[in-house]
């Protein structure tokens, strides 16, 4: 077990493109850090550099106290779980799991003991003598985990380990991964493009975009205080709604309503030499006006164009007569937009299941005025309210 430090790590390919740019990360001993971002953001490359499978073009990588830039993967004492599991097909489950120990020249008795132990943790005992080809996807995934944990390495590296499983199994294995990591308390770096996995698994989440680190923080931090449009749009499902805004005094004029902003927000905005602004509201910060009672906040009428009932909650989509354009959002749309039903110019709101919203009918909506996020349209940076820690 060890902390891992990435000090201005850069990956430059021979053709000059930079997959990872000056990445700084301190991963603490025993921490579960998630690297998340859309495909092509450099997260896997970063992980593979930690593993030693990719050369580091620039910067320094430390595992524990040692600089490991020039060390071969085998000398770094780390274990990796691959996206496609990479089990050795000619070996049984037992041999697969024993392989790292054999390579480390551990005596047979210890190997047997360790493998049995790991198999017990992973519920694989009865499958030890089967070949990977006779196992189900979930079992293979567990064998891959087993191969990583037998050796008690300094760190686990996981490269989208759950992305090949079906949805139900993924949720199950997610809990499993979390349980194992808690139990072993081994430093873990986990790469995923799935923000749900990132939010549920990690102690801390690092969001990457185009090879650059955007923000590192606890899931809650990223959700409540995203640094820019990209993080705001990436974290949370369904994504945050973005819309243009005009500010006059303390009144923010949104496409569908006007809202009185908080004192702290007004101060924050004041110190910002305002260019164009943009505002973001998460779907869960809307509510059916009938259900909120007399909580402060603007109410307004919209026409429900799409309604999705999840049983426990309702999603409604309504149109706004405005368009938002920002480079970071276009990128997001290209990557995660497909997951959302919302079209451009549509707003999603999550309502309580008891709401009587109907498709095609008009509905009185309420919005939480304290949960507005303001962004600078040009830089994409979020403008924090005054006094935010």
């Amino acid at each position: 077990m060890s902390e891992i430090t990435l000090d201005k790590i850069t990956k430059r390919f021979p053709d000059g493109t930079e997959a990872v740019k000056q990445l700084d990360l301190d991963i603490e001993d025993g921490e579960f850090l998630i690297l998340v971002g859309p495909s092509g953001c450099g997260k896997s490359t970063a992980l593979r550099m930690i593993a030693g499978l990719e050369d580091i073009s620039d910067g320094e990588l430390r595992i524990g106290e040692d600089v490991v830039n020039g060390k071969a993967p085998k000398d770094r004492d780390i274990a990796m779980v691959f996206q496609n599991y990479a089990l050795y097909p000619h070996m049984t489950v037992r041999e697969n799991m024993a392989f790292p120990l054999k390579m480390a020249k551990v005596d047979q008795e210890t190997i047997d003991h360790q493998v049995e132990e790991a198999a017990k943790i992973l519920d694989l005992t009865e499958h030890l003598d089967r070949k990977p080809s006779n196992l189900s996807g979930g079992q293979r995934q567990r064998v891959a985990m087993g191969r990583a944990i037998v050796r008690e390495p300094k760190a686990f590296l996981m490269d989208e380990p759950l992305s090949n499983l079906d949805a139900k199994l993924r949720v199950q294995m997610r809990a499993e991964v979390s349980r194992i990591q808690n139990r072993l308390e081994t430093t873990t770096v986990y790469v995923t493009h799935d923000q749900t996995e990132a939010m549920t698994l990690g102690d801390r989440v690092a969001v990457m975009r185009k090879g650059e680190l955007q923000q590192v923080g606890s899931p809650q931090e990223l959700y409540e205080r995203p640094v820019n449009l990209f993080v705001a749009g990436f974290i949370g499902s369904p994504s945050m709604n973005f819309m243009p805004v005009e500010l006059s005094g303390r009144t923010a004029k949104l496409p569908f309503c006007e809202v009185e902003i908080t004192e702290a927000m007004a101060q924050g905005l004041e110190s910002h030499s305002a260019g164009s602004l943009m505002v973001g509201v998460r779907p869960e910060h809307f509510e059916d006006a009938k259900l909120v009672g007399d909580q402060p906040g603007p109410t307004f009428e919209v026409e429900v164009s799409i309604l999705e009932s999840m049983g426990s909650e309702l999603y409604i989509y309504f149109d706004m007569d405005a368009e938002v354009r920002a480079e970071q959002l276009d990128e997001l749309a290209a990557d995660v937009g497909s997951e959302s039903t919302a079209e451009e110019g549509q707003v999603v709101a999550r309502l309580d299941a008891t709401s009587e919203a109907r498709r095609g009918e008009r509905l009185e909506l309420w919005m939480d005025p304290e949960k507005l996020h303001f962004f600078d349209l040009d830089s994409g940076e979020r403008i924090a309210p005054a006094g935010e820690g």
């Binding site: 071969a72 085998k74 496609n84 590296l157």
Partner: protein, 287 residues
């Protein structure tokens, strides 16, 4: 597999019979020939086609004659030469070809296309045009009429084929497997030996069969670069068989020898066929 209509099946069956007959009839004929006495070999009895094929006076004399004088006889020493030379050439070719193919499949190095192109060019080079220079070179190097004298040209002509076969197999093996092995603590060579080689065995056996058959069947180099039983292989030795008198050709003896040299090939293929199991990599990655 799709189900076939009875009509289709009959056509397939007929096709199969034609192909099998076409392929195996000469073998049948040579077996028949090898069992005949010198008297009936060339004489056409009035028994029609099947009567000619099935010898009326079947005898194993021809086979006995081949081994009669042991190592001084016409056949045993060349047989040993053939087996030895072909096996050694195969072994060396497979080891060298695996290294070369692995490098070509996995590494980016300058001149990679040149190596592959060169290998292909060598494979297409007509062997006959190298025989003359080789004869002179081998004489001055002392390789003439020795085992290495044959093994070397066999290697150079069979390596390209082996490399091409193995490159295809190595490319099929997911790269993640070696990387997993390296992260698991294996050196690159250990990863190659413990993970890649076992997975590429079918490919190696395929390549081995090709090399072995090439070396085993070669006549051109064998006849040109040997002068005695010290290194003469069976195909060349057959040409030196003598009949009972200078006017009779030893057809029956040659046929018997031909049957015997076919056996190792069949055995070789049968053994290795079992190892050429498809789908060995299934289950490595998500299927």
């Amino acid at each position: 597999m799709e189900t076939r209509s009875p009509q289709e099946r009959i056509i397939w069956l007929l096709g199969l019979i034609v192909v099998i007959f076409y392929a195996l009839f000469p073998v049948l004929w040579i077996i028949s020939l090898s069992l005949k006495t010198p008297a009936t070999v060339t004489v056409k009895p009035d028994e029609g086609f099947w009567g000619t094929l099935v010898p009326s006076d079947a005898t194993f004399k021809n086979y006995e004659a081949l081994f009669k004088d042991g190592l001084d006889g016409p056949f045993l020493k060349p047989l040993i030469n053939s087996i030895g030379i072909a096996l050694i050439a195969t072994l060396i070719a497979i080891v060298l070809a695996s290294f070369a193919a692995y490098a070509i499949a996995r590494l980016e190095f300058p001149g990679k296309t040149l190596v592959l192109g060169g290998a292909l060019a060598i494979a297409m080079f007509p062997p006959i045009s190298t025989v003359g220079p080789l004869f002179d070179m081998w004489r001055s190097l002392g390789l003439y009429d020795t085992w290495p004298g044959l093994i070397i040209p066999y290697l150079s002509f069979s390596l390209p084929l082996a490399i091409y076969t193995l490159v295809a197999f190595f490319r099929e093996i997911p790269w993640d497997l070696e990387q997993a092995a390296q992260v698991d603590g294996a050196t690159p060579f250990q990863a190659f030996r413990k993970v890649i080689v076992p997975l590429a065995t079918p490919g190696m056996f395929t390549a081995a069969i090709l090399v072995f058959i090439f070396a085993w069947n070669d006549f051109l180099f064998a006849i040109s670069l040997t002068s005695s039983d010290a290194s003469r292989t069976v195909p060349a030795a057959l040409a030196f068989f003598t009949g009972d008198s200078q006017f009779t050709q030893p057809f029956a003896n040659i046929a018997a020898a031909a049957v015997i040299v076919t056996i190792p090939i069949i055995v070789f293929v049968l053994i290795f066929q079992r190892r050429i199991v498809a789908g060995l990599t299934s289950g490595a990655v998500k299927g």
